[in-house]
Symmetry: D2
Subunit: 164 residues, 4 copies
């Protein structure tokens, strides 16, 4: 299986900087590399772009992500993204890209703090791409992979839940 991963930052990637005393979005793929270390049957193409907390993203960033998607020859793409504006970026891409299977994912807790949640969300995206699915814009969070417009962040509870 060939899969392109576009890592745009977000909580998923955050690591603690002991000198500044705070969590930062790094510009590397250390969190991702640990998750995919066991994926002996996938050829990954990994692109690290934007590297922002998604609260700091704007439509310029979304255009950059869209351009990278369009330059990718693989039709199976996972986009790692902050949880706060993943709804905006997925809606942006839906208007621009129709010939790919794009699965957004992310985490409520950094991989560097809780390996289970970040690995769950990412690996669900990968498992979903193993199936014979239609082109579309999907979101893999908290147990399910569905059309990205149907799974939304409940900010009060810190959970993604399927819209009624």
């Amino acid at each position: 299986m060939n899969v392109t991963i576009i890592n745009t930052g977000g909580t998923f990637n955050k690591r603690y900087n002991p000198i500044k005393g705070q969590l930062e979005v790094p510009i590397d793929n250390i969190a991702l590399d640990k998750i995919i270390a066991s994926c002996h049957n996938v050829d990954f193409e990994i692109k690290n772009i934007v590297s922002k907390d998604s609260l700091d993203m704007d439509d310029n960033d979304r255009q950059i992500i869209t351009d990278v998607v369009n330059q990718t020859s693989n039709d199976k793409i996972i986009i790692i993204h902050g949880t706060d504006t993943v709804d905006l970026t997925s809606a942006f891409l839906r208007k621009e890209v129709t010939n790919k299977k794009i699965v957004f994912t992310g985490a409520m807790v950094p991989m560097s703090i809780d390996e289970a949640e970040a690995t769950m969300n990412f690996s669900q995206a990968l498992g979903f791409l193993s199936a014979d699915i239609k082109n579309g814009i999907y979101l893999a969070m908290h147990g399910v992979v569905v059309d990205a417009s149907k799974l939304v962040k409940n900010r009060k509870e810190g959970k993604f839940v399927i819209k009624d």
Copy 2:
């Protein structure tokens, strides 16, 4: 989404017993519970049976697993199984069950030692079940979910790889 998990033991579940000084297959779901803690959109039915290293399983155990599968009303089932004889158990079930989507999974390293690999394998199974797949006997290991007969353990390298 409704999913039945049948936890039969194997390396996936092993924990260290400091008094005996060795790893043991427990009869609980502690490893699994940590993985699914973030799955807010799935109703799980969890059945813990057999609880063996898969080298110690025989056709009696495989019949027990088959019976539990047949008693399950859900058609989406994940079976956590040791890696050494998952080929035998999946072949056994293939002859007995045709009306379910059954995904076997497991781990080369216990969840208690490496959270990433066990969580990857299990979560791929769950992500695959989010797609509109056909009834069948599948195996989720090391990056892909495919028909269980096509993904085999390379004992020398400690990896599951797709058969040519």
Copy 3:
């Protein structure tokens, strides 16, 4: 051995709050409890007070800590404290308390993110108290336990180093 632990907060205790998206100083002892779980030969008295990032501490807080120290019948005391003002609090206590063996400790990275550093610093304090030491105000950080005035934070490098 009888030891009183006064847990005043600081990075040592910080945990990630996924709803707020940031690290917080909790008012519990979860980090500490994990560290001392194996200490079968110590009777601990644990007091959780102040619960602040040490940048937010003032002399009122230092007086509260001093009062709790003076109310303690044990003469062996470990104080968990943020690293940014541990020099001020240890200097404050030096003027007020002379009849105890007080060892300050803390961490540059939260126990919830890196178990090794926080456990190292705390456990050095405990090992030092196992020896026949004089009353005094000590600091256990980054490999050594010495008089608190001699081990200072290098903010640029994020390390405590012995003063020349």
Copy 4:
């Protein structure tokens, strides 16, 4: 502070070999290196010898350890050792070495499985050596550092406890 660490193996160091499906005593210092990564104020000399489960050690191994101790110019020495025969090795060294401060330590659970216990035991040894102690043969386990003859393994409970 100058400290020599003699790493002789034991549970402390064990890591899981996924190909063999069991825990092994490695001939490296990966467990130790993670523990001492924050010790910016200590010059360590590390010697990795014997590399055995202590149940497999005999007096030949004990003589090798004694010889290495005698060749060491540092008088502060930590010996990482399996818990099952640490009583025999410490008694052996007591007869042979009288001019050093030797602290034995180890773990009931491998560092690769539980970072807190192994780090606690080792770091207590290091904190004890920060104090002005007499030459002797000590054992750092489960909360205290005392003369090695006074702290014994309760095999039934999997704990080291001070002898009455």
